[in-house]
């Protein structure tokens, strides 16, 4: 799956309360969640973000609560993938489980600037910065997790296993 989009940058330790504040968690409707995505960091984000755009952030992205509403809000807002230096562990699992591509690359996270046009090959982990003509590689995903992605998410993976 090839991804190409414009970059929005955020800092270190972006927590789930910033990604989707708890005051909106009285619903789990993806559309409603997306309408408030990242608004405590940038109130205009939900209106500015275009389909296919990419979020680039520093270390420990998605720290805090276990709310799956966070990757759901990002995905539903149209963001095609997240590139960060590192991820909080629950967010990392959640993103895989719901099918939001996320890549870990310290080099890319440091080098890519807001507004850059970036192309990502999720399968190989190759990240191309088209604005700056540079390339970076993301950390490989364990084969086991690749299996979950190939099955189309955890629910399909489990459903297939239970059928056997």
């Amino acid at each position: 799956m090839d991804i190409k989009g414009k970059v929005w940058r955020f800092g270190n330790d972006v927590d789930t309360d910033v990604i989707i504040p708890a005051r909106y968690l009285n619903t789990s409707d993806p559309r409603e969640l997306a309408a408030h995505c990242m608004e405590d960091a940038d109130p205009q984000f939900p209106t500015k973000v275009q389909k296919g755009d990419i979020i680039v952030a520093g270390k420990n992205f998605g720290c805090g609560s276990s709310r799956e509403h966070a990757p759901i809000a990002i995905k539903e807002a149209g963001v095609s993938c997240v590139i960060a230096k590192s991820y909080a562990r629950i967010f990392y699992r959640n993103a895989f489980n719901i099918g939001l591509p996320i890549l870990e690359s310290a080099e890319a996270a440091e080098d890519i600037a807001e507004g850059d046009l970036v192309e990502v090959d999720v399968n190989t982990g190759l990240i191309k910065n088209l604005t700056r003509s540079k390339e970076y590689t993301a950390t490989q995903v364990p084969p086991f997790m690749q299996g979950i992605i190939n099955a189309g998410g955890l629910i399909n993976y489990v459903a297939e296993r239970l059928k056997k």
């Binding site: 309360d17 910033v18 619903t27 789990s28 270390k59 799956e68 509403h69």
Partner: protein
């Protein structure tokens, strides 16, 4: 092996496991709440099975937005209720019989030493306080475990924290964990296990240990754990609904890092906005005027916490510019506090007492902050907007500091009001 590795190995049906290994484990209990269960239920229904793996081991606790704060939350809570009926879940806890999930489960004996528990709530790591392996996951992971009774895990490396010295008065479990988070940072234990050891921990109450394990996730950890001992045994005896196993780390267990703290001269600590790692001694916080003080949550809403607050508040008045709100963690804790006369102390001081709920801890309801307001809270997160307006501030402390600050109208140490 470490205690964490031993529990994981036992649940994977293996003799040993190594850090970094991906394993499939049997889970003893699966948990979700009124925010995360609706998503989990919807995902569960897509799997195409018509029953949960064990109706006694799938636990649903509505605690975040209950008693229902608005129509949307009422709809979410209703989903839990109906799912629980449809699947005859033994452990669904209705308003009036509930509590904050992480106070409730150990209290009701639903979690015991040596258990492996996963929950769709990041503070599921709390049960490490009684020697269980427990960790938070998202709703989809929980949905899968509700169907299969299993999950996959990567065996974490362990970091050992050794606490030595004499625990000073008014320093408690909260301060010990803030000390560690202040040292290693909010991602200092990312993907790892935090093991709390040493003479100070060996003398710490179960309530204090639960507080410590609770905040392991604030350092990014997968789990926090204390080896069970006589103190644990006294707590779980008569409560545990299932047989339990005491595990402990071998002398030659491997740790990626070891930290040693001498707590003898330690002051209570306060985490400044907007990260739990911004830790300073309480004496450096005395300039901070507050509008609200919150005592409760899954971190510090247990009986010992309320007793500590009452000791400070007895015969004192809450400052006229401050709202003090107290949230007992469960109905049992509520009743116990009432019987011990703690409610009289709180009411005489001018505090509000709430029914058990998460309430303001996550900025849900019952104590939301306006722009520019400051709150000292015994909760676990002080992120931007965590308790209300993005222009408000949360300072994390132990219950004694939160009580003393409510009297002083600014952050202050218990010693100042005694």
């Amino acid at each position: 092996m470490t205690i964490t590795e031993k529990i994981l190995a036992a649940h994977a049906g293996k003799d040993r496991v190594e850090p970094g290994e991906l394993i499939n484990v049997r889970v003893d209990l699966v948990l979700a709440n009124d925010i995360t269960a609706p998503v989990a239920i919807r995902e569960f229904e897509k799997i195409g099975v018509n029953r949960v793996y064990d109706p006694e081991r799938v636990t649903l606790v509505p605690d975040h937005f209950v008693p229902n704060k608005d129509i949307k939350s009422a709809e979410q809570a209703k989903m839990l209720r109906e799912f629980s009926r449809r699947h005859s879940l033994t452990n669904y806890f209705e308003v009036g019989r509930m509590g904050i999930e992480h106070c409730l489960l150990p209290e009701q004996g639903l979690v015991g030493p040596g258990d492996l528990v996963i929950g769709a709530d990041s503070h599921t790591c709390t049960y490490g306080g009684i020697g269980a392996f427990s960790t938070g996951m998202g709703s989809t992971d929980i949905a899968a475990a509700m169907a299969t009774g299993e999950t996959w895990l990567k065996v974490p490396e362990s970091i050992k924290f050794i606490y030595k010295g004499e625990l000073p008065r008014w320093v408690s479990g909260k301060d010990l964990i803030l000390l560690a988070i202040g040292k290693i940072g909010v991602d200092g234990a990312l993907y790892r296990a935090m093991e709390f050891t040493g003479p100070v921990i060996e003398n710490l109450s179960v309530d204090g240990r639960l507080t410590m394990a609770n905040m392991a996730v604030e350092a990014g950890a997968k789990n926090g754990i204390v080896a069970p001992d006589e103190i644990t045994r006294r707590y779980v005896e008569g409560r545990a609904k299932r047989p339990y196993v005491f595990y402990s780390s071998d002398p030659d267990a491997r740790y990626v890092e070891v930290y040693e703290f001498d707590v003898t001269n330690m002051e209570p600590l306060v985490a400044f906005p907007h990260l739990p790692e911004n830790v300073r001694p309480v004496s450096e916080a005395a300039e901070v005027k507050i509008d609200q003080s919150v005592i409760g949550s899954c971190t510090n809403g247990r009986i010992e916490d309320l007793r500590e607050a009452a000791t400070i508040l007895r015969g004192k008045k809450v400052h006229r510019d401050v709202r003090l709100i107290i949230f007992p963690g469960t109905q049992e804790i509520y009743r116990q506090a009432m019987h011990e006369g703690l409610f009289d102390v709180f009411l005489d001081a001018g505090a509000a007492i709430s029914t058990p709920t998460c309430g303001p801890c996550l900025g849900g309801h019952s104590g939301i902050l306006a722009e520019g307001e400051r709150c000292v809270a015994t909760t676990n997160r002080n992120f931007v907007g965590r308790m209300g307006h993005t222009g408000s501030e949360v300072y994390l402390s132990n219950p004694a500091v939160a009580a003393a600050s409510a009297i002083l109208g600014r952050i202050g140490s218990p010693g100042e009001v005694e």
